[in-house]
């Protein structure tokens, strides 16, 4: 497929993907640092570049409610938000997967208040970790762009029918201009194809009820179905990643190993930090340290089999969480990675919380993590911090 190399911010890469998908309905409310996605997309709407019905609502709670209504009606539906906007829509965020509505949302990761902060961390994504959305993370603008198409196909697949969230780091990715490869509108739209909803409330020939009271006699069965759909998503999203990967001629997978084969000391991280850590790994390798990196691109469903097979024989693993889980046995990603490796005798799995509220994560911090853990020989789930002033 013909592609061109252009410069875009992560936010504008999301907006371009949305334009090429050309959804039937987008309902959103502005919030930093998501705003440039909707600013750019609103321009596409105003200039007649898309056929989308853009619903300008008065809050995020209403934005997600409008998305639920439109998706239930059978319309291809997208939205975008950040942090406190996501917090306000959380009640309805849980309803989307429960009703099995394939909404796609770009979440530009920002610290949840308080104290109030508009910069990057992953506390917003972790707030809705258990809501039942499929969750993709993006290292850069290219992955933001690619993830949107993969997300849409996965969401709408009849084996899945779950909403999908595409995460990118607030400002670091959303507002940084970088080069990426993009396809032509026509061909990218062909990849997602036309949407034929399995259920539509506008289908008067096949009327059905959506959203009735669901008590102890059926609720559990419906949640069990949701769990099953998430298990299907693990397989289905790989199919679409493969298909998309062949289309754009770029390798794409649920996890991305870097210099991992003979590595003894392995970093695990999500989003833009993976880029910094790749440099750290190279610096350590230059000093003769067998360092490696595993980037997690698909966070829900968590690819534990991949983590187990790629990291099971490693000596020391350090998981970096950009969100604090106070009082827990480490950050959310740390717990997932450690659980995936439980029962295997070799690895020491250590966890760090870093980068809260947009605190910069540097190569120097990455190297210091190695220095601090080089002689570590216990395996307690101890929460460590990197980049905070003592």
């Amino acid at each position: 497929m013909k592609q061109k190399r252009i410069g875009l911010t992560g936010a504008h890469a999301a907006a371009l993907a949305m334009k090429q998908i050309n959804p039937d309905v987008v309902a959103a409310y502005p919030i930093t640092p998501q705003t440039p996605i909707m600013e750019r997309f609103a321009e596409y709407v105003a200039n007649g570049k898309v056929d989308t019905e853009l619903i300008r609502v008065e809050s995020e709670h209403s934005a997600m409610s409008a998305c639920i209504g439109s998706s239930a009606a059978g319309a291809r539906t997208m939205t975008a938000t950040s942090a406190n906007g996501l917090a306000l829509m959380t009640e309805i965020v849980y309803i989307a997967p429960s009703y099995r509505l394939p909404i796609v949302m770009n979440l530009v990761n920002r610290a949840l208040s308080g104290p109030i902060n508009i910069h990057c961390d992953h506390s917003d994504a972790m707030l809705v970790r258990d809501s039942g959305w499929v969750m993709l993370f993006s290292e850069n603008a290219q992955e933001v762009y690619d993830n949107n198409f993969i997300a849409l196909r996965t969401a709408e697949d009849s084996r899945v029918l779950l909403p999908v969230m595409i995460n990118q780091d607030g400002f670091i990715t959303s507002h940084s201009l970088e080069t990426l490869e993009v396809g032509e509108d026509k061909e990218m739209h062909e990849f997602v194809g036309e949407y034929n909803p399995r259920y539509s409330l506008l289908d008067t020939d096949n009327p059905h009820t959506l959203g009735p009271l669901d008590l102890y006699d059926y609720y559990f069965e419906h949640k069990r179905q949701q769990a099953e759909a998430m298990m299907h998503a693990d397989r289905v999203i790989r199919e679409y990643m493969k298909q998309y990967s062949e289309l754009v001629n770029r390798p794409i997978d649920v996890v991305e190993p870097y210099r991992l084969d003979d590595a003894e000391f392995v970093y695990v991280a999500m989003n833009s930090t993976a880029g910094t850590l790749r440099v750290v790994v190279d610096m350590l390798r230059d000093k003769g340290v067998r360092a490696g990196l595993l980037k997690i691109r698909l966070y829900r469903p968590f690819p534990w089999r991949d983590v187990k097979s790629l990291l099971g024989d490693k000596h020391k693993i350090v998981v970096l969480d950009r969100a604090l889980s106070p009082g827990a046995t480490g950050g959310a990603l740390y717990q997932d990675v450690r659980s995936s490796l439980y029962g295997l005798s070799t690895p020491i799995v250590a966890g760090y919380v870093y980068g809260l509220g947009g605190r910069e994560f540097t190569e120097e911090q990455g190297l210091r993590i190695y220095e601090e853990l080089r002689d570590l020989d216990d395996n307690e789930p101890f929460q460590r911090f990197m980049g905070v002033r003592e």
Binding site: N206, L210, G211, H222, R224
Partner: protein, 93 residues
């Protein structure tokens, strides 16, 4: 409950694919008081039928009303709106 369908058979997302099935859900046992109609007083004005939130008041062949006790929840609205006091609320036994 053990006779109900399992998760593999049920429509996804709590959807009900056969609308109008609420009549299969008998709510009559929620009642603590039951409305009893005195047919000699009932004029067949049907005001109670308009007010009944459960649609549990039926019209008989004689034009007067009777109560669908399978679905009546015993709210008593029919009794209080009846202009000729033909509906009395009695204790359920």
């Amino acid at each position: 409950m053990s006779n109900e369908k399992g998760w593999k058979e049920l429509p996804i997302g709590g959807r009900i694919l056969n609308p109008g099935n609420s009549k299969e859900f008998k709510t009559g046992d929620w009642r603590s008081k039951k409305p009893v109609v005195d047919k000699s007083k009932c004029t067949g004005c049907l005001l109670c039928r308009l007010y009944c939130p459960e649609n549990a008041i039926h019209i008989d062949k004689d034009g007067k009303i009777s109560i669908d006790y399978d679905h009546c929840k015993g709210c008593g609205i029919c009794s209080s709106v009846c202009p000729v006091k033909a509906i009395k609320m009695e204790e359920e036994k």
